[in-house]
Every structure is written in structure tokens, then in C-alpha cells.
Amino acid sequence: MKLALLELRRRPWRFAPAVIALVLLTGLLLTLGGLLDGLYNGFTGALRAQPGALLTYASDANLSVVRSRIDAATIAQVERVPGVEQVGGLGTVLLGAEVPGQATEASVALFGYQRAPGGVPAPPEHAGQVYADTSLKAYGVKEGNTLLLGPQRYPVSVVGWVSDTDFLLQGGLWGTVETWREVLGSARPDQVLASGTFQVLTVSTTAGADPARVAAAIDAATGGKTQTVTRSFAVDSLPGITQQRSTFNAIIDTTFFVAALVVALFFVLLTIERVGIYAVFKAIGASSGQLFAQVVLQAVVIAVVSFMVGALLALAVGSLIPPQVPLQFSASRALQVAVGLVVMSTLGSAVSLRRVVRIDPATAIS
């Protein structure tokens, strides 16, 4: 017989204040987490998807894909560095796209690529064809659509879908190198690139090679014209990413702390209310440990139930938010919130331990 569970089942209203507070906090945690994940993925998807351990930028670009330029001669130097297995060129241009039947332009990042990123097929057969990121569906993009890119309304047709390839919160479009060059030239005539020049190189290293050493060797081989970094470093170097994550994580951590505080306060009050009955339990032979275990069990059950209801609440709120808002719910984030909530609730309930231990069984007899 589990006293704690029986009480929860038979007197659920007693726990309603804590459950309501935790449901709201769960909804907040999942929404904040979803926004953080959506922003992070929307900013970094294209770089995270790149093949190879390393990305090579022009040294004067300050790790900016848009500003970086690497010419054919430098690429040839990179290819000859020991430890380098494969090199591919990558370029992008950020612009607006007119979507058939839609009044609002979609913000897109058109990529031209030599080596297919993870989850992206090999470049389309023909110039003017692109794979579109599924995030662009929120802007009304459909397969078979012809999108008109940039001020010159350069037409590209959508021939398939890819996912998690957005860049700087702009929907990813993935076409041939020729398509990218032409669109870049039409949208930014001052930035026309010579044939063979790319913005960034994706570099795979040979088996067993140390990526850090290879990166240093590449930059040495190019005479300092390049800056080669790991993919994860490149991702973290995107503008605002670190600040964005630390800000959101600070809010999320604070919310977890508030959850622990709510549970602590609730169970302290409940324990004060239960002093009489706990004294009776102790008088008839219950140990402080047994009573405290009941408190913890109730805290854990409350956390789990609150999480489930809170998750439904977050999904309901999420369905009301416009699809353009980068809100992404994921199983891993949900698991993190669920575990965090259970841990914080357990810690919160632990505040009652001292009170439970101090209850004198002799008070059961007046």
C-alpha cells in the first residue's frame, strides 16, 4: 500500500495548486526550449549539415560565410595538404523570394554546393533547380513552385525537400554552383565571383588524421590566406549564437529553479499541515525515511503528471503561434524538461526532510 499514491488518488484537489503551477512552468519551459531550438536550428542548420570535420574561410572574413572568398589557386593548395581527403566548395546568398500566390516574400539562403551536406541529395541535375528546406512551407512554398529570387526575380524551381538546413533564420535553398553564381551575380552585381572561387570550403580529413593539426596545416599551406576551423567552432561563431543560447539557458535554468521553489514551498506547507498525522505515523512505528519517501514519491508523481499536462498545453500554444516563428518541439528537449522537472521537484521536496525528521512522535499523545 502506497500511502502517497492513495492520497494523490483520493484527494487530488489538495495537490491542485502545485500541479497548476508546475503545468504552467512546464508549458513555459517547453515553449522557451522550443524557441531556443528553433532559433538555434534556424541559424545553424546549413553549417551543421556540412560534410567533413573542417570548414575553411578566407582569413580576412572573420568566419563570415557571406564575406569569405577563396580562389581556385588557394583551393588547389588546400587539396594538397597531407591529411586532407576531400574538399568541396560552398557559397551562399541571402535574399527575398517571391512565392506564387503569396503576398509576403520568403527570406531564403540560396546555397551552391559541390559536396552534398547531410540530408541533402547531390546537386540537382539542372541549373535553376533547387531543393527547398521544409521550413519554407510556412511561407506557402510547394514542390514544383517557381520562386523568383532577389531584385532581378531570378527563377528557380523547387524539385524536392530537405530539412534542418536553414541559415541565419533564412529558409535553405540548395542548387547547383552555377545557379548560386548566377543568382549572386544578378542580386549583387558588385560581388560576382570568378569561376572556381567559392566562399567556404568543406574539408574532410583522412582516417586517423587529427582535424586540429590538419586545420593548422591548411592555414600554413595557404600562407595565412585561410582560417580553418572545426564545424562546431564555425557554428558557434555565427553572430549572436552564443549569446542567444546563454540568454535562453539562463531563463530556462531560472524557471527550473522556480519549479523547485514551488515544490519546496508546497511540500513544506503540506508537511506543516501533516505534522499531527506524521506524529501518529511515527508513534506507530514509521521511520522518518519512510515518511520522507512518501513526500518524494508525491513530488515525483506531481512532476510527471504536471509535465504531461504541461506538454499538451505547450503543444496547444504552439499550434496557435504563426508557423514563421521558429518554435520547434523535440523529443530530446521534452525529455530534458521532464527529467529536469522530476529532479528539481525531488530537490524541492527534500526541503521538507528536516521538518519530517524533527516531528516528535511523542506529540501524537497530547
Binding site: I284, I365, S366
Partner: protein, 232 residues
């Protein structure tokens, strides 16, 4: 556990002193007492006389400041709190003044909670709880919550709970304090009948002299000093 031939309770020069700074309050002063294996003793005295303290010491709820407390042959005077908890779980039954049933547990569950804390065999515990409830005339009310029971029924459940662990000694605290004379008589009769039926020793604390005739012996306590035994 079980019934022993030796005294169910033996107090030998028991003292309980409360200290607050330099001040000392003697709640129980050199009390000596022996309660036989199936004897019912009433302990009477005015408020603040020390009767509750003596009852608490006898049941292992309080440790004495001096003297010896022996329950069914076990000297519990030096037990630490953990050992006292185990002792109470296995050797003593309590009937509290205000019944103190768990409001969200049924009558049967209020009995089973004792076995639950002892981690006893669930099947055997359920059988014992049902047997006790049947003997107390509560078989039909086993699934009822305390609020669905009458005052007398609640009292009977409390008595059943005290016998759940087959104690050597049952300690009963002011069972009639909140009741009128007629109901008080009924409750005392019920308690005494149940205690006698099981051949268990019992100490009943009461301030109501009218209830002492239910006991085999009545002791008085005034200012912490236990008076000479007087046969009721």
C-alpha cells in the same frame, strides 16, 4: 511480540526532567510500576501531572532521564530513536485521544498502514486486518473512509489499529475526554472488552475517575509522583 510471562511493563525509578537553560522541570519523579501480562491499569491525574509523559515513556515515545523501562522483558531505556521506532512498530499498540485515523484511508487501510510500515507480508496482513475488523463488528465497513463512519465505529477502527501488530502492551490516551458519560462508558467498555479478549496488558490514561472501574488497578499521579496502587 506476542505475550510473555514476565511483566508486560516494568518501570523502575523512572525520571523525566526537562531542562530549559538553568531551569529544570521534573515531569516524572522516580516512578516505579509493574503491569502484569494481561492487566489493565488506569492512570489518573490532573492536567500537567505527568501521566502523559509516563505513558509516552512506557511506549518508547520518550526516553527517560533516568531509571529503567522494561517492556515484555526488553529494557528499552537506552534505545536510540531508530531502535525505539522499531520497538514501537513491533511491541506497542496505541489508541490516541482524538482517534487520529488517516482521513483518506479506508477502515481496512487504516489498519494495514501499521503492517505497511513494518513491511510485513501483505497477504497475512490483509487477513489479520479483516479478522480484526470482523471481530470489531466492522466487516461491512472495511471499505469506508473515516468520514463515512460513526464516532463509535471510528473508535473501533482505532482499537483495531492498536492490535494490528499483535502488541505486548496497549497504551490508551484519554479515550473518553471528548465524549459524554454515556458514550464514554461505551467506548471504555469496547476498549476493555477488546483488550481482555486478547489477553494483552493495557495502560489507560484518563482524568475521568468515573472510568477507572473498567481497570484492574488504578494509579494516581500528581506532580510527577506516582501514587500508591489502589485496586479498583
Amino acid at each position: 511480540m506476542g505475550h510473555h510471562r514476565e511483566a508486560a511493563l516494568k518501570l523502575d525509578n523512572v525520571r523525566k526532567v526537562y531542562r530549559s537553560g538553568d531551569a529544570e522541570t521534573v515531569a516524572v519523579d522516580r516512578a516505579s510500576l509493574e503491569v502484569g501480562p494481561a492487566e489493565i491499569v488506569a492512570l489518573v491525574g490532573p492536567s500537567g501531572s505527568g501521566k502523559t509523559t509516563l505513558l509516552s515513556i512506557s511506549g518508547g515515545l520518550l526516553s527517560p532521564s533516568g531509571g529503567r523501562v522494561v517492556v515484555a522483558g526488553d529494557d528499552i531505556s537506552g534505545y536510540d530513536p531508530k531502535r525505539l521506532t522499531r520497538f514501537r512498530r513491533e511491541n506497542v499498540g496505541f489508541v490516541f485521544q482524538s482517534v487520529n485515523l488517516v482521513p483518506f484511508l479506508t477502515a481496512r487501510e487504516n489498519l494495514l498502514v501499521v503492517a505497511d510500515f513494518s513491511r510485513r507480508d501483505k497477504k497475512k496482513s490483509k487477513a489479520r486486518a479483516d479478522q480484526l475488523l470482523a471481530e470489531l463488528g466492522l466487516a461491512e465497513r472495511a471499505g469506508n473512509l473515516p468520514r463515512q463512519l460513526s464516532g463509535g465505529e471510528r473508535q473501533r477502527v482505532a482499537v483495531g489499529r492498536a492490535f494490528m501488530n499483535q502488541p505486548d502492551l496497549v497504551l490508551i490516551d484519554e479515550p473518553t475526554s471528548a465524549l459524554d458519560t454515556k458514550l464514554g462508558e461505551q467506548v471504555m467498555e469496547l476498549i476493555v472488552t477488546e483488550v481482555r479478549a486478547r489477553g494483552t496488558a493495557a495502560v489507560i490514561v484518563t482524568h475521568d475517575m468515573r472510568m477507572t472501574h473498567f481497570a484492574d488497578r488504578t494509579l494516581t499521579i500528581v506532580d510527577g509522583i506516582l501514587g500508591d496502587p489502589a485496586t479498583s
